[in-house]
Symmetry: none
Subunit: 410 residues, 2 copies
């Protein structure tokens, strides 16, 4: 059987010592017998997703872990948020973050968030999705949470060299227009200005808005795009690495990135991205993916939720879920299989956001040079045999273990 590598990621795993946990981190405090067993049998170390001290996002971290330098391929939030809401995004597309907003009859913005609308946006989005714009450009539009949405313009010769002036970022002001900053951005500016104008026409009398007005709520009667970004052309994962891969990941942003680089998405029944997610279903689905591809990316969102909420009890529970997930996968592996266990970034409960602290990592499989580390934690792994590596190193390490890396030189 061909060798395989699985990258098992606990989102936002890393943390800092917490006084209420006797100075331990959630990972150090949690009961993780299976991860500890993997640490004891494998080689451990610390990993900086981008570089020491850099506060990586989940998007930039995953790009790096998949071998795509985020300094080259991360072109701002527009394209990556669009991936996150589930829009198909291709190299050369022009993407935006958007708000549903409310304007009055004179085109003055009454409410940039349309009363923080939280129902009906899927129906509103459907009315705009697929809109044909001048210059052979097509708009793909999808709602996100609350008043947020993503927009992708697909066509030839698009450019992000347009002014970010449609959304005045304040109520009581008129909607602006995008202006080309370079001559060849005229068609992109025309397209997005047309999209905004058409959104007013189409949404004005939409049933969702009729209903909102009847209930005394601000109608979502215009779309305000901002943060234009070109989607970079990336080499397909198979082209980049010489082998294909699958992904079992929970949240939109990471699903989007996986699809964007060409990993096949496998949906695990009961995977919710929340604290109630079915980790054993995720494990089973990862094994299905691994029966079809030599590489599988797995991401469990839970630990990051605890970090962002500052809820170390939740984070501990989610880490214990991750322990069971990894155990279920490890139990079904053959001696030809390799797994890497890691986080994508740190989300300390004390910070409630991503920090620049490095992540503990285990690499487990036949022939790895074991070390003295016997538990999986931030401080134990700092004494491991791997030392301190970067996220971009990881797939190089795994690809040579599974005999799929060309020699550089003779």
């Amino acid at each position: 059987m061909a060798k395989r590598a699985l990258m098992l990621i606990a989102d936002g795993l890393g943390d800092r010592p917490i006084a209420e946990l006797s100075g331990k981190t959630p990972l150090e405090y949690a009961s993780t017998p299976n991860l500890d067993k993997l640490a004891a049998a494998g080689i451990c170390g610390m990993m900086d997703p981008i570089a020491p001290g850099i506060r990586a996002g989940s998007d930039t971290a995953h790009l790096a872990l998949l071998g795509y330098d985020p300094h080259q391929y991360y072109t701002g939030r527009g394209p990556f948020e669009a991936m996150g809401v589930g829009l198909e995004v291709k190299g050369g597309d022009l993407a935006f973050r958007c708000n549903f907003a409310t304007i009055d009859g004179q085109g003055i913005i009454v409410d940039r968030r349309a009363g923080r609308i939280d129902t009906g946006t899927a129906d509103l989005a459907k009315a705009l999705d697929g809109m044909k714009l001048p210059g052979g450009i097509t708009a793909y539009f999808k709602e996100s949470t609350a008043h947020r949405a993503g927009l992708v313009l697909h066509g030839q010769n698009l450019s992000d060299q347009i002014s970010d002036t449609i959304d005045p970022h304040a109520d009581g002001k008129p909607i602006g227009k995008a202006e080309p900053l370079m001559p060849d951005a005229q068609s992109s500016a025309d397209a997005i200005n047309t999209f905004v104008r058409e959104s007013i026409r189409i949404l004005a009398d939409h049933p969702v808005n009729r209903d909102r007005k009847a209930r005394g709520l601000n109608p979502a009667n215009v779309i305000l795009p901002r943060g234009a970004g070109m989607t970079p052309h990336v080499p397909h994962f198979t082209e980049r690495w010489g082998f294909g891969g699958g992904a079992v990941v929970e949240v939109g942003l990471i699903r989007g990135i996986a699809r964007y680089v060409g990993l096949e998405l496998f949906d695990a029944p009961g995977s919710t991205g929340g604290s109630d997610t079915d980790e054993l279903s995720i494990a089973r689905t990862a094994l299905v993916a691994a029966s079809q591809y030599p590489f599988v990316l797995v991401n469990l969102k839970g630990p990051d939720l605890g970090g962002h909420d500052g809820d170390y009890q939740l984070k501990i529970q989610m880490i214990e879920k991750f322990d069971r997930l990894c155990a279920a996968i490890a139990a079904s592996l053959t001696p030809d299989d390799y797994i890497a266990v890691l986080g994508d970034h740190s989300t300390p409960c004390s910070v409630k956001d991503h920090s620049g602290d490095p992540l503990p990592i285990i690499i487990h499989g036949s022939g790895v040079r074991t070390d003295d580390v016997t538990s999986y934690g931030e401080r134990s792994c700092a004494r491991g045999g791997l030392g301190r590596i970067n996220g971009m190193d990881l797939l190089n390490i795994l690809s040579q273990f599974i005999d799929k890396q060309e020699k550089f030189g003779a």
Copy 2:
């Protein structure tokens, strides 16, 4: 209170084992109870100022530690020596190292070092400083030690693409001329040639030289510039990092770099840059700076002097001074403050110059992931939880601890 970060640097701190110290390094041998306490409470590691094995200068090391890649921003000794002698240097300036020299009536160099002149050079320099040159260029000139001096040309469209042929680098030869190597360097060549010609006219009958001749000494009757280098345009520290900083540093070169990147200099009374410096005054001044800025750079020159002299006893004494300096600062910090303790480069007593050995580093503050290191030394810190980092990483690590780093991605 807003979080703050202090970078406490012992210049030339790193060393190699010394037989007379029972195989210990000066840092390992010195009595440093306060540094050891910080090491025990913080996270330790090793740092290469530029990269492993690279013999960094104090200038290139400090550029890196402040987050300016020396491969991009270090453009030779001209600009940095000019900073070192205390000249104001700005991006776009053309700077030179200079000698005071002696010529005869035929323009032949009699003595490239003007009898190693060591008094009166300040008066001679004053006679040249501020000279107006063709093309709207102004010359700023300042004496350094002995026969050495710095020169900065300030104006529009300067270029370092000129031949280094004014100074023939040997006695008995005529003074040469700078020639443009590119057409647009003509005005720079003209300016520096004019400066040399004018220096001969102005210095010929200067009282200092009249006095020297009366005493049978070679007059300093010409300036020989060499090593032209353009000063790079650097982003201001506040622009680079999003927060401002102060500096309490002793010697000209590092003062120059601090000012050049936009740190505010704070002068500590009794700070001499020598072995008699008042380390407690430096600590007090650093705390004043930290009351005004979230970042403060501190550099104690002493340990480097011991290294360059090959005098390990002196180096040990200076390290113990540094221990007291760090203690005085640490005693006044709040739980919101972070300090990094480190050297800028190694100056082993056995080498009497900078080596490429890495430096021990401590990062101390709330939430750092402590390790088992309980003493501050080259070998103890090599087992620390930080692993091995680069100088350019340090401010990334500190800026995220003090909540002043933008997230890269989402």
